[in-house]
Amino acid sequence: MEFKDYYATLGVERGATDDDVRQAYRKLARKYHPDVSKEADAEQRMRDVNEAYQVLKDPEKRAAYDNLAAGVSSGGDFRPPPDWDSGFEFRGAGPGDEAAFSEFFSSLFGGGGRRGGGAAMRARGEDHHAAIEIDLEDALRGATRDISLRSIGYDEHGQPRLQTRTLNVRIPAGVREGQFIRLAGQGMPGMGGGENGDLYLEVRFKPHPRYRVEGRDLYMDLPVAPWEAALGATVRAPTPHGPVEVGVPANSREGRKLRLKGRGIPGDPAGDLYLVLEIAWPPADTEKARQAYRHLAQEVPFDPRRNLGD
């Protein structure tokens, strides 16, 4: 596992004051905010910055981090398990953190029981947040995924050890981008007999090569031949729910949307699938094809620039 230098991420000295840390964070958060940033890797940088800030702004976490950093530089063993990289991002030491966090972070702070407070205190564990990236197909049909969560435990010598627990999560069909999946009792352990917190997974879709997603609706480009668009035709189109025969109306233009009701992401109401017509011209790469284009030009008086004026 790569050791993360949170001080370097925020560009502050090790002895930086809370104020320095906050100022540095605010500056970087503006620079890399995904809504405004022009940087290509803004989202990843924002995550790194958020993660570093969540640790360094909290005196308890910062002390734990400094301890660990000292151990690493003197050759401390901090090796991840072999199935380390499972595409899972932890999203918060405390509840309500907007940021997504690296495995490094979750191994440090993801429910290792490093909580302050008196031993006699009874408290419900904090809720945790994480992001999960799924394929569109998982949302259409539902899926089962194993999700690994890591935390730090201590062995009999009091040495920190990484622990991994794997949750088998059923992703319900009909889940939308940005929706939360709630796993009851999988957040921070409670204290003194208190209930465990919950774990919230925010769903993100991996980009799909064919479909664009907007809410529950899907959009797909459907190539048609010029004569199919001009004369009308019935064409076969693949959909996530299997192929369909779809009628292309005569005189269809490029960009015309054909709506297939209920063929988007399932739900109440189910989303629709829009087929966006894309007119594909046959290449004029044979004498026959060139002849056909010449023939069309002769037979059909057509000036595509007539509306442009002089």
């Binding site: 809504d35 509840p95 953190d97 809720d127 940005g178 664009r212 109440d268």
Partner: protein, 105 residues
Amino acid sequence: MKTVAVTATLVGKEAPLSTGELARACGAEETWVLQLVKVGIVEASGRPADWRFDSAALRQALAARSLQRDFDASLDAAALILDMSSEIRRLRARLRVLGMDADGF
């Protein structure tokens, strides 16, 4: 390695969050959630004594929390920032649907 099967619920119409659950998910108090509703950062359904919140409300609430905590934003400023942010996302999603992105084609 031990695998634990867990029950997953989709936060939404079928399984909404109560006021207390939303507050807890954000590490906040219930009174804070009442303020969010009042300012219009989150929408609640149901009767005031028995409010229900969906995933969009949770997302908004988490974002408002971090704006307040990390930027000392007032709730009204947070509301404005979140409105603008959601408008940017809506426009970007429209552009994507049209096969474009915000910085060109």
